[in-house]
Amino acid sequence: MYNYDIVVVGGGPAGLAAAIEARKNGVRNILVVERDRELGGILNQCIHNGFGLHIFKEELTGPEYAERFIDEFHRLEIEYKLDTMVLNITEDKTMKLVSSEYGLMHVKAKAIILAMGCRERTRGAINIPGTRPAGIFSAGTAQRFVNMEGYMPGKKVVILGSGDIGLIMARTMVWEGAKVSAVVELMPYSGGLTRNIVQCLEDFDIPLLLNHTIINIKGDERLEGVTVAEVDSSKKAIKSTEKFFECDTLLLSVGLIPENELSINAGIELDRKTGGAVVNESMETSVAGIFACGNVLHVHDLVDWVTEESRKTGKSAAKYVYEQPSEGGRTIETIAEEGISYIVPHEIRTKKVEDKIDIYLRVDNIYEDVILLIKTDSKIIKRIKKKHLAPGEMESVSISIEDIISGGAKLTVEIEKGGQ
């Protein structure tokens, strides 16, 4: 049995930032476990720029952003194991790890930070009818093939889903010499950033078909084409709008799911909405001493927010290791009301917050000129005017602990319409 103060599961942006922050807060005995052959996680395949505007005040590519953290991680001489999988975590924080180099290892940790990230939803998750030919990839898999491994998935491409990965992959495929016929989006709006719609689709005259979906896949050995149709307000395909697109490749960018199998086995309570753990103000899960941050907690749109959240988590884990347990004070529940799809963290213990707490939230639709209303019970503590809110753009709100203490047992966030 190996003993560590903190074991971090995952060496991507969340794991790196959490481990670095824990070390800076005095924890010597840290282990980071990464299943890939290198640190950096998904950033290594996100070769486009736009990362780091909040954290570094400059625009970096994904690999550049990762390398800054990897360099600092090595300077701090934090221990890590590559090509190593965590197989199991128990509630008493013993872990089973496996790698071809070390075989099976048993590890006991005082605290664990879950930073496993997320994975892509697949064709199976969205049930597209049709045959099962080769040529259907999740967009992120195709991204790794093209940008890292040097394989080209195909020549004539249709993309389903207009989240940022789908948009970025449209441009990547064009630059690599493929033709992208269309990006198909079920919703009436794109889930991606405007900048990506302009620079990845409009620049190359790629049509974005909103309110459309794929209703059939055709092909025997290899994909031959897909049938696209417009949907009505209840998301049912309209028969008369069916159109066949010839293609040899279909990329799916239809959402991300936090990868929480280890968390479930450890008995950690999950939030059905985020797919991640239920956490308190310290990013601690329902199992004391097990923390979660980054995309395994909730899917972020900007890595900068992952870094910010993970630093906070690393600091909390360090406190957990070194400080005597203290009284948490009153527990306030955060509640997503009208127009809000979720809030993280789920609980705030009043005595664990120094002066203010940042809450992260997403809205359930596109809103223009509204007010974000933050209340404790019926008392309004904050009214924030918002010109534009979209499900694809996470919002963060800073709330003073004074306001929370003086209020009730619930902190609610809602959208007040017509708030000019």
């Binding site: 990762a66 390398e67 093209v146 630059w175 405007t194």
Partner: protein
């Protein structure tokens, strides 16, 4: 001439209409934007649209077969594909350090193509 441009200065994504005037003090008539940044972006996008190119180049003797690279500044949008052609001619050998210049002054733009990550040579 009239063109519609989606502004990317902020997440609002205003549809900005730009009309070129043949005479008069202001050369362009701009509408649909909600702030001054929209006006600036629209004029730039009409007169001289620029982009950063992020792409990959072949690499040998490394664990991966592609190295990510970028233009170390913006280049004219119209030059993107010619720039890609130049990069496709190259094959690198690991090791490479982040920031290493891969092509100097690509297509006489005054902009370099640089490595956007480090890549070690495979240990044999």
């Amino acid at each position: 001439m009239r063109q519609t441009i989606t502004c990317i200065a902020c997440p609002l994504g205003c549809r900005v209409e730009v009309e070129e005037k043949s005479q008069g003090e202001k050369k362009y008539l701009i509408s649909g934007h909600k702030c001054i940044r929209g006006e600036k972006y629209a004029i730039e996008e009409i007169t001289n649209p620029t982009r950063v190119l992020t792409y990959t180049v072949k690499i040998r003797n490394a664990n991966l077969s592609r190295l990510p690279i970028k233009t170390d500044g913006v280049i004219a949008k119209g030059l993107l594909f010619s720039c890609i052609e130049e990069i496709d001619k190259i094959e690198l050998q690991a090791p490479i350090r982040i920031g290493d210049v891969i092509i100097e002054n690509v297509l006489n733009t005054g902009v370099d193509i640089v490595a956007s990550r480090s890549m070690n040579a495979i240990k044999i």
